[in-house]
Each structure stands twice: as structure tokens, then as C-alpha cells.
Symmetry: C2
Subunit: 346 residues, 2 copies
């Protein structure tokens, strides 16, 4: 179980190259390449010799060599702000899943709000055939720069960028539906938490909400309460807000903010939903397990990523049609945090 099948001594490093295989099989590297890819007929006997040599040397072609010769990477990238919440993780998962299906590796890049985002994205661009950019991780001009290198880009959860495909979850209508539902509950004083400046989604949710409130003759809050999109952000901002001028309905740009706000409210002795209605966005796992259950808007997070991956694949397949802009439907999920309902509340 040794000797014969062991790699030739001396190939201490990395792995065998096509040259070593060729030499061992006593053929030219062209022939090895041909059996590797099946691009041309190879005599059965020769093929057998080559295959034996490959096996003996545990040969795996160098991706670098292949890619350089083929002039593409067979890899795609995805850029997101961070992976801390469930939202981006789900999108990335949906993306990876279909990317893998169509045979492309995926490189991830989290900008972490770092200054160097531009450089990082450009570096990524040099390693992939195409990429998807989530939310406002980088400026439009960086995306333009990437597109300028002939690398297709599809943006997700972000306003359209010239020359790039895009996919978003529907925001305004669901925000209107949410606002209408809340107004029907009798809530008259609203606040919106989340920063429309740093998230296109938040912007459209805010827009839709204000429109609904106006339509229902409800006072529209002056401005959104800008806060980070995580639990701490929601908790801290809510603590301030509820301490000074408590509204009776709190519409949050995502579930984490909402859950943070609920924590703050409970600490202050404010009862949900009796004293304060709170709603989120996304429908993450914690939303359905929290008590009261969090009223929220479910987004097709996985599908967002999947759509992006498929579109990118089409582009890389040579599709040069005009950019497409997809909007995926969302769904209002009413639970107990926005007020009591007839049904058994949870």
C-alpha cells in the first residue's frame, strides 16, 4: 500500500504540475490537458497511462494556471456590510447556494463600515468574474468603476445603479399596509426607527409609512429616529425616545431594532402592546419566538440572494440586455406586538 502509488519523491511542495504528469506518462502536456478536459480524442492506452500518472501524483490542476489560460476565474464575489444580523447571512446563503449549483466559487467581503471599502471592493473585483453588492456598502462610483472593468454587478437592497441589475424586496406598499394596520388599531402618534440615510430599504419603508399615515389623517413624525440597525442601536435610541416623548406606535426598520426597543420599553415598565405598539421588519427567528410575538414584514431573504446569483450567471453567460430590476414580494406578518387582535394572541 505504499511505493507504487506514492507521489514521486521531491514533490514536497504544493502538488504535482501538469509537466510531471506528462513526464511520468511519457506524453506532452497537451495530451494531459486533453484527457483532463476531454477536448480532443485521446487513444485509450494513452489515456490510461495519463490517468495512472495523475492518480499516482495526486494531481489537481492549478486553478491559477487554468484561470489564467482560460481568462476567467469561475468565481463570483459578494459584498455586504457585515454578517452580524440574520438578514445578510440569509441573503449570502441564498446566493452561495445557487452560485455553487452553477459551479462558481464565492468570495465574500464584509466591509464592516471600514474606510478602505473602495480598495477592498476593487481588490475583490480583480479576483472574480462578477459580483453582487448588498446595500450601501460602497458608493455608486465604485460600482461604476467595477462595471468599467467589464465585471457585471448586481445590487441587492439598494437603489438602482446605472448599468447594474438590481433586486429588492418590495418596501413601500408593505410599509403602507403596515401603517394602515397600525392606524386601524387606533394608534395616532408614531415614530420610525432606523436610518434612511444609510439604507435604501429604510428609506422606502419610511416613505411608505408616512404616506399611509397621511392617508389616514394621522400625524406624521417629523423625521425618522436614526439609529444603528442592531439591538443595541434600537435599545439605546428607544430608551431616549421613550423617556422624552413616547409615541404610541414604534415602527422599526428591522426586527433587531424592534427587539432592542422592546427590551428598553420593558425595562421602563412600558407594556407592549398595551402602552406601545412595536413592529419590525424581516421576520427573523427571534421575531416569532419573542413574547409578545413581533409584528413584522417578512422578506424573501434567501430569494434575494438567489435571484442575484442567477442573474449574475446569465450575465456571465453573455447576456448583454438592458439591466433588469426585480422587486420581490413581501408579506405583512401580524403578531401581538402591534395591539390585540381577535385571534389568540401570541
Amino acid at each position: 500500500m505504499k511505493a507504487l502509488t506514492d507521489p514521486a519523491p521531491g514533490d514536497t511542495d504544493g502538488g504535482a504540475t501538469i509537466y510531471q504528469v506528462a513526464e511520468r506518462a511519457d506524453v506532452s502536456i497537451a495530451t494531459v490537458s486533453r484527457v483532463l478536459r476531454g477536448t480532443a480524442p485521446v487513444a485509450a492506452a494513452t489515456r490510461a497511462r495519463v490517468e495512472a500518472a495523475m492518480a499516482a501524483l495526486r494531481f489537481t490542476p492549478s486553478r491559477l494556471g487554468v484561470s489564467l489560460a482560460e481568462r476567467h476565474h469561475a468565481a463570483n464575489g459578494i459584498v455586504f456590510p457585515d454578517l452580524s444580523g440574520p438578514y445578510f447571512a440569509e441573503v449570502v446563503l441564498g446566493y452561495e447556494e445557487v452560485a455553487a449549483e452553477v459551479g462558481r466559487s464565492v468570495l465574500i467581503l464584509s466591509t464592516h463600515g471600514r474606510q478602505a471599502a473602495r480598495e477592498m471592493v476593487l481588490d475583490l473585483a480583480a479576483r472574480v468574474d462578477g459580483m453582487v453588492v448588498l446595500a450601501r456598502t460602497v458608493d455608486d462610483e465604485v460600482i461604476a468603476e467595477v462595471l468599467g472593468k467589464n465585471i457585471p454587478v448586481v445590487v441587492v437592497a439598494r437603489d438602482r445603479v446605472r448599468g447594474a441589475d438590481s433586486v429588492n424586496a418590495e418596501n413601500e406598499h408593505s410599509a403602507e399596509a403596515l401603517g394602515a394596520h397600525l392606524a386601524a388599531h387606533g394608534h395616532r402618534s408614531f415614530a420610525f426607527m432606523g436610518d434612511p440615510e444609510i439604507s435604501a430599504d429604510a428609506y422606502h419603508r419610511w416613505t411608505g409609512l408616512t404616506r399611509a399615515l397621511r392617508a389616514h389623517g394621522v400625524n406624521v413624525p417629523q423625521r425618522p429616529v436614526a439609529c444603528p440597525f442592531d439591538e443595541d442601536g434600537g435599545r439605546e435610541a428607544a430608551a431616549v425616545l421613550l423617556g422624552t416623548d413616547p409615541p404610541d406606535a414604534l415602527v422599526c426598520a428591522n426586527d433587531e431594532i424592534a427587539l432592542g426597543a422592546i427590551t428598553a420599553a420593558e425595562q421602563m415598565g412600558i407594556r407592549i402592546p398595551d402602552d406601545l405598539a412595536v413592529t419590525g421588519w424581516d421576520d427573523v427567528m427571534a421575531a416569532r419566538h419573542s413574547r409578545p410575538g413581533l409584528t413584522t414584514v417578512r422578506q424573501p431573504m434567501r430569494q434575494l440572494g438567489a435571484w442575484a446569483a442567477r442573474r449574475l450567471h446569465e450575465r456571465l453567460g453573455g447576456d448583454t440586455s438592458a439591466p433588469r430590476h426585480e422587486v420581490l414580494p413581501t408579506q405583512l406578518v401580524v403578531r401581538a406586538s402591534c395591539g390585540h387582535h381577535n385571534k389568540e394572541d401570541r
Copy 2:
């Protein structure tokens, strides 16, 4: 704002190469490379010309060319079963964060329990300088194969593999502590949910639990209840278990199983914690928002990934010392789901 700074016509594709820059600056490609990397002195005037040319052509060196010449990828991979739960997402995030800090791109690969895992991992191995493997995504022999190509591997949440570094969260002691706590609550009939066959973590948790039970003279369940590590898995398995032979304490291998079990129990009219204690593992966001709050064991998920990234970096820096095996501490988090306590229950 046109003309001068525009890329030369004709470079319709991909991007400029070092040759075009060299030609435009009227120097050799060696000189361009030198200003690019600062590896040798270049006269100020020459440097300026080259830089101007690079800017005009929007030149970015081809990663493929660089890597092939440098003989490494400047990229690492990470393999995980899937990203659906918060656990793996957090580990990946922790990994990406430090990998990015030390200047390495990261490739992700989710095996999704696919048959082709071996091929996928080997393909990944051809694209990276090192990789981390989470849990039991592939067999030891695949890892050996990767190591054989001189690619360092660090495994996470998995038993040791010859030749690879490893990092795990402490399992047995915390499981014992958990078991002791539960026994002190007076629970006498236990069940464990999660499949020790497919998760090293689950195996050690099961082991620790049984040891604690024995130490406290409590009946040890015959065997664990094998179920998928997600909510549905927990819910379905719990529905069966609670319908036939309900224990009074249910120790689950992760929070999602636990949350699913709680859902099933509530549907059957079983009260938590009065009729049944339930505990999880990980301390994900939903664990602290669910009511009753879920008693669980907090794992340093981010740090698991971060440690792996750092260790890999050391290896790639030339460290050839014996494999290191790190165990990160965990923390029992007692909430209401395991029984009433003196403190205000949540």
C-alpha cells in the same frame, strides 16, 4: 473631463495589462512592476510617468498574474455545512473579520450535505493557501488529502484530525454544569435531542450530560433523540417524544432545536417550565427574546472563527510547529425555561 484621462480606445475588455501601462509610460514592464510593489528604486520622473499611465488606463494588476508569479493566492477558504442557523454565520463572520484584517480574501463553501462535498472541498483547496473546516462537513481523509497538498487546515467544532490545528468550544464541563443545574431543580427524567453522530459538539454535550446525571443519581436516557439541528427538526422530534413518553427535562444540542421543541410543547398544552424544562445551546438572539427565556450555554462563536483565522495566518507565515488544539470557554446562561428561580424570571 474626457479625453486625456480616458482609457485608451481598444481596451474594451477586462482592463489594461501591465504591458499597456509600460508602453504608455515608455518603460519596460519590469519597471511598472517595481513602482507597483516598491521592490526597487525607481527614478522620481519615471515613477511619475508610470503612475500617470496607470491612472489613465485605470490599471489594476491581474490577481491571476500576480498569484501565479508569486505562487500563492492570498486567499483562504472556509467550509461549513450551511449558513441557515445563526451559529455558522457567526463563526464565518468572526473568521472573515480577522482574515480581512491580515489581508486575505475569503472563499466560502457550504456543503449543504451534498454528496459532492469531497470534490467541492478539493476544488476549493486549489484556490486557497489554507482553509478551515467546520464540523463534520467532510471525512478525515479528505482533510488529509488537502493537508497532503501542503495546504494548512484548521478544524473548528470537530474532533482532532491528524496534522491539523483545531479549536472547539468547551462542551463536556458545561454540559455537566447544565446537567447538575437541572438535577438540582429536581428533574429526574431526561431526554437529549440532537445527533451525536453528525456533530462532535453534540457528542461531547451528550457525554457530559450523562456523566452529570450519573453523578447525581439520575436515570440516564438510553440514547439521544437524533434530529436535524434546526427548528423543524426539534419541533417534529419533540412532538413525537412528548406524545409518547414525555421526560421532565429536555436538553437540546442547540437553541434552534430547543425553540422548536418549545413550540411543539406549547401546541400540546405542555407548560414550560412547569411541566417540562427545556434547554438549548449557543445563546442565539432568539434565546434571549423567547418567553420563557431559554436556558442555554453561550458559545464564543465569533472567537471560534477568529482563532481559526489567526492560527491559519500563523501557519501560512511559516509556523511548522506541532498542531495546536484550543478549547474556548463557554458559559451557562440560566433563564426561565429550565425551571423557576428566585430572581425575577424571564
